[in-house]
């Protein structure tokens, strides 16, 4: 029991509590001295949150190394992990594999929670439970959205990038291990703030937080969310710096850009976007917070502000953000198909270049979220053009995938099954996005369930299903054990069926004119069946997640031993043991050719050295 206080997370949490109390107390004191009533929910809570987060970071120990360097102490270059085993995952640890697992577990904990939140809303709309209040419903769906974006999708992908990138490029760790650790630990207060905003009155505005509604909304839940996302955004930006530096500077000899797995290309494009654009959601949220706390008028026309300014700033991030949510999933698909078809990826170079192509295109389409918003009418036309253009590199990827499968030798293992479902759903999502990109049609479909169906198809096809594929594909590398194929296929069936049942009725509801974010609908519209089907789909998805949890636990304990390369993959991570050694590669491999060159005679992806002193001449592929 005493040992529990040596864990960073416990120390950080307690310091955070103390810091919050102190911050709130200081703010109340300042207010009292200035002659105002000591307690006002907004300023006092925000002050408490800010000091609490700083105290939490200090308590965790992330500032320890820099503090000692600043006061002139001799500091070790690389910190040895102070604890061993499971305790490492509750501590500030700089090893990229530990941090990767920390991110992934965080994502997998918040995923069922966020799904359950929305299931409450679905039950309400299907009229299967007594109606909940409008405020509760709006808070639930808004929180569902934000938690999914910032505490499920982004951490899951960041976790996969953290774990895999050094292994995929032949490096021993990330470029900035300490910064890496801080990025992860910043996520927890952000997640707690958004989650507990529900207890503080929630926020009624949808995840898009448009002012003037968000500036006027009374409950402090709104302030908690604004700060929580600001902190989460900071974590993302720091993580992006790390990943970009690692990929650009730490590739093994011979690993040219056009010998990188597509996952790494996708990581490059993704982190380039998060590095540059996250600031805009942080700024827009901060400006709303200042309107609330200090009465400033950025978006208040009566004070000379403009309502639409918020929307431009917000969507300038939030559109590239959705490419952040899917690009890595597309990279995972591109890297898994060759392994299970025993064929090289068709058109590797075009697929590789399509990732930055999608990112570049995705920067200039954001106005398509505002076609009905009241922006200058003629501005809508260029945004329509760019939105449709970005479909081209996306389509290139989809065509390359199925071309890879054609005349291959397909193994229907669980990772590949998830990839197949992902492709179908992603394609459906992309095709339902085309009508939304066309202004006159969007003016009908905007703010209806067609949009909700579209983006859930994109996220299931571009994030959830590929992440499941990734889990089944790389779990053997991470743990040394195989996940159960039987439970994997059961989970696949539940998730796939659930996804279709969830999404297709939403498209139907959308064309019937069902608005988003409403708590009920006229019975005469005959929508109850579609809402019920959507709810059933959601429950199947949730059940699939329960099966995943079960599979993870039993396979970790009793799974079949995996060995170094159970799938016959031709990328660098399969050249080391499962799990990998602490520093990944004792000898850095030399890369000779592209990955995934199955069946191409004479092609070797990489080997461990050629000089006479090194007798361990292992080769990857050939």
């Amino acid at each position: 029991m005493k040992g529990i206080f040596s864990l960073s997370v416990v120390k950080g949490f307690l310091a955070g509590l103390a810091g919050t109390g102190i911050g709130m107390g200081v703010m109340m004191l300042i207010r009292a001295i200035m002659g105002m009533p000591a307690w006002k929910t907004g300023p006092v809570v925000v002050a408490g949150i800010l000091t609490g987060v700083i105290a939490y970071l200090a308590g965790l120990g992330v500032f320890h190394y820099w503090f000692r360097w600043a006061v002139g102490d001799e500091a070790k270059e690389v910190d040895a992990p102070p604890v061993k085993g499971w305790r490492r995952y509750f501590n500030v640890d700089t090893n990229h594999k530990v941090i990767g697992i920390q991110y992934l577990v965080t994502a997998l904990v918040f995923l069922p929670f966020a799904v359950a939140l929305q299931l409450l809303g679905r039950l309400d709309l299907s009229k299967l439970i007594p109606a909940i209040s409008a405020s509760a419903y709006e808070s639930v769906i808004s929180t569902h959205g934000l938690i999914m974006f910032f505490f499920v999708v982004i951490p899951a992908f960041t976790g996969l990038m953290n774990y895999l990138i050094p292994l995929l490029i032949g490096a021993r760790d990330m470029a900035f291990p300490r910064l890496n650790a801080i990025s992860f630990w910043l996520l927890l207060p952000a997640a707690l703030l958004v989650t507990f905003s529900l207890a503080a009155g929630g926020f009624d505005t949808g995840w898009t937080v448009y002012p003037p509604l968000s500036a006027a909304f009374e409950n402090v839940g709104m302030d908690m969310v604004l700060l929580g996302i600001y902190i989460g955004g900071l974590a993302t930006i720091l993580g992006s710096i790390n990943i970009l530096a690692t990929i650009i500077k730490m590739r093994a000899p011979g690993m040219t850009y056009f010998r990188l797995p597509i996952f790494v290309w996708s990581a490059l494009a993704t982190t380039a976007m998060t590095l540059v654009f996250t600031q805009f959601i942080a700024m827009s949220f901060l400006m709303v917070l200042f309107e609330r706390l200090f009465g400033m008028g950025f978006f208040n026309p009566q004070m000379g502000g403009q309502v639409l300014l918020y929307q431009y700033m917000f969507w300038f991030y939030s559109h590239p953000a959705v490419y952040v949510f899917v690009l890595l999933g597309l990279g995972i698909i591109s890297d898994i198909i060759p392994v299970f078809t025993s064929k090289p990826l068709f058109g590797y170079k075009t697929v590789a270049l399509a990732s930055p192509g999608i990112a570049a295109g995705g920067m200039i389409v954001f106005g398509h979220h505002m076609f009905a918003a009241g922006m200058p009418a003629v501005l809508r036309i260029p945004f329509m053009a760019t939105t449709l253009l970005v479909a081209v590199p996306t389509g290139v990827k989809v065509f390359a995938w199925v071309a890879t499968m054609w005349m291959g030798k397909i193994r229907l293992s669980t990772p590949f099954l998830f990839v197949v479902s992902a492709i179908v759903i992603f394609l459906l999502g992309g095709l339902t996005g085309i009508p939304l990109g066309i202004v006159p049609i969007d003016l009908y479909l905007h703010d209806t369930y067609w949009v909700v169906g579209h983006f859930h198809a994109m996220i299931f096809g571009g994030f959830l299903l590929p992440t499941m594929a990734a889990i089944y594909y790389w779990f053997p590398k991470v743990t040394g054990k195989m996940l159960s194929e039987k439970w994997g296929k059961i989970q696949w069936a539940l998730l796939t069926l659930g996804t279709f049942l969830l999404i297709i009725p939403m498209l139907g509801l959308g064309v019937d004119g069902m608005r988003r974010r409403v708590i009920s609908y006229s019975p005469g519209l005959n929508m109850q069946l579609l809402h019920t089907l959507t709810a059933v789909g959601g429950f199947l998805v949730f059940t699939g997640l329960v099966v995943l949890a079960y599979n993870l636990v039993i396979s970790f304990k009793r799974g079949e031993i995996a060995g170094d390369n159970p799938w016959g993959g031709r990328t660098l991570e399969w050249m080391v043991s499962s799990p990998p050694p602490e520093n990944n590669f004792s000898v850095i491999p030399e890369v000779l050719d592209r990955p995934h060159m199955h069946g191409v005679s004479g092609s070797i992806h990489a080997r461990f050295g050629n000089n006479d002193n090194n007798h361990d001449q292992r080769e990857q592929g050939g």
Binding site: A134, Y210, V420
Partner: protein
């Protein structure tokens, strides 16, 4: 890359083409003949619906091609048990890669151009005399319609059929959005600016304006009737509104203390009711909100912010609209300021009950 194809490959390619043809043919047929978006009752909806059908047909063909290749491969290109060899070492085929980049590029450019043409058709201003202007004010949680050329204001949107309407939208508080789905496009109402949208309704009937931008807890019920009538009926309606405007109505309580109270769009039509102490009060309560329950209840004190009230004096029966009920109770004997509200919507429907 293989330079010579074996007969087996042609076998597969033929089978694939057949699969794609059947799939896309059936889907395209479905989309062109099925009424995908029902209730198309305006000129603008006509353009939108036709374009959507074209898009769905193109989507059906693309979908069929990809699913065709995918499905066919999953069935016919499986690894046979015991076969340890690898698949065919094809790394790419530049002409195919060029084709599947350039053809979609041409298609999307074509769609963008056509989209601009259709957008122009549904939004371009017509000659001023041919358009009837209706100024719409959006507020939490209702709509107010003003006809500047007739000097008429109403809470119901009445328009003549086959007449192009120019809606000029303003918002009193937060971002709302004006949408009658049978008429097609929607348009946000933004505080500080005036936005515009145009419609030409083609079918007589009763429809609903629905707010389509989350504006708070009353968003779901922020609706108003949108009624399309013949030109003659419309002129009659305008005359009626003008006559009604010229007679004054008062809500101060006459000696018999009878009050007409209306609940509409989650609001009472009066914020203050005044009666003399101890009189017998009759409230003719009219609930216009369809499917929404309301009541009138009187308390010693209460708060809209917290939604609480204490010291109940009279709690009226809750009725679901559209319906009306008559409440009878005795006003408090002690003069003062009391609090009334709808118990179902305690934070949105409140007022002051003054006893003199």
């Amino acid at each position: 890359m293989k330079s010579r194809r074996s007969p087996q490959d042609w076998h597969h390619i033929l089978g694939l083409c057949l699969t794609i043809a059947i799939l896309s043919g059936s889907l395209v047929f479905l989309f062109l003949h099925y009424d995908v978006i029902p209730y198309s009752y305006s000129v603008e909806r006509g353009y939108i619906d036709n374009f959507l059908k074209i898009l769905l047909s193109i989507a059906a063909v693309v979908f069929s091609i990809v699913i065709g290749v995918l499905g066919y491969s999953l069935i016919f290109f499986r690894r046979k048990p015991g076969d340890k060899s690898e698949g065919s070492p094809v790394r790419g085929f530049a002409p195919l890669e060029r084709a599947w980049t350039i053809i979609p590029l041409i298609i999307v450019i074509g769609l963008a151009i056509y989209g601009a043409v259709i957008l122009d058709k549904i939004t371009a201003p017509g000659p001023p005399q041919t358009e009837m202007e209706v100024d719409v004010l959006a507020f939490r949680y209702g709509w107010q319609f003003t006809y500047p050329q007739y000097n008429v204001t109403s809470y119901e949107l009445n328009v003549p059929v086959n007449q192009r309407i120019l809606i000029k939208l303003q918002s009193k508080d937060v971002v709302h959005s004006f949408w009658v789905k049978e008429w097609g496009p929607k348009q946000d109402a933004v505080p500080g600016i005036t936005t515009q949208v145009r419609y030409t309704p083609t079918k007589i009937g009763q429809y609903t304006v629905q707010c389509s931008q989350l504006c708070g807890s009353g968003h779901t019920y922020m609706t108003a009737p949108a009624i399309v009538i013949s030109t003659g009926d419309f002129q009659n309606w305008v005359k009626q509104q003008q006559i009604a405007k010229s007679t004054t109505t008062t809500t101060t309580a006459p000696s018999t203390a009878t009050i007409n109270l209306v609940a509409h769009n989650i609001m009472f039509d009066q914020n203050t009711i005044t009666v003399s102490a101890g009189t017998d009060v009759t409230i003719n309560f009219n609930n216009i909100d369809a499917q929404v329950p309301h009541n009138f209840a009187l308390y010693s004190s209460g708060s809209a912010t917290t939604g609480t009230a204490t010291g109940s004096i009279f709690v009226g029966q809750i009725i679901t609209g559209p319906s009306a009920v008559v409440y009878h109770f005795k006003a408090p004997a002690t003069p003062g300021t009391y609090f009334f509200r709808c118990d179902v919507h305690p934070t949105m429907m409140t007022g002051t009950f003054v006893v003199k």
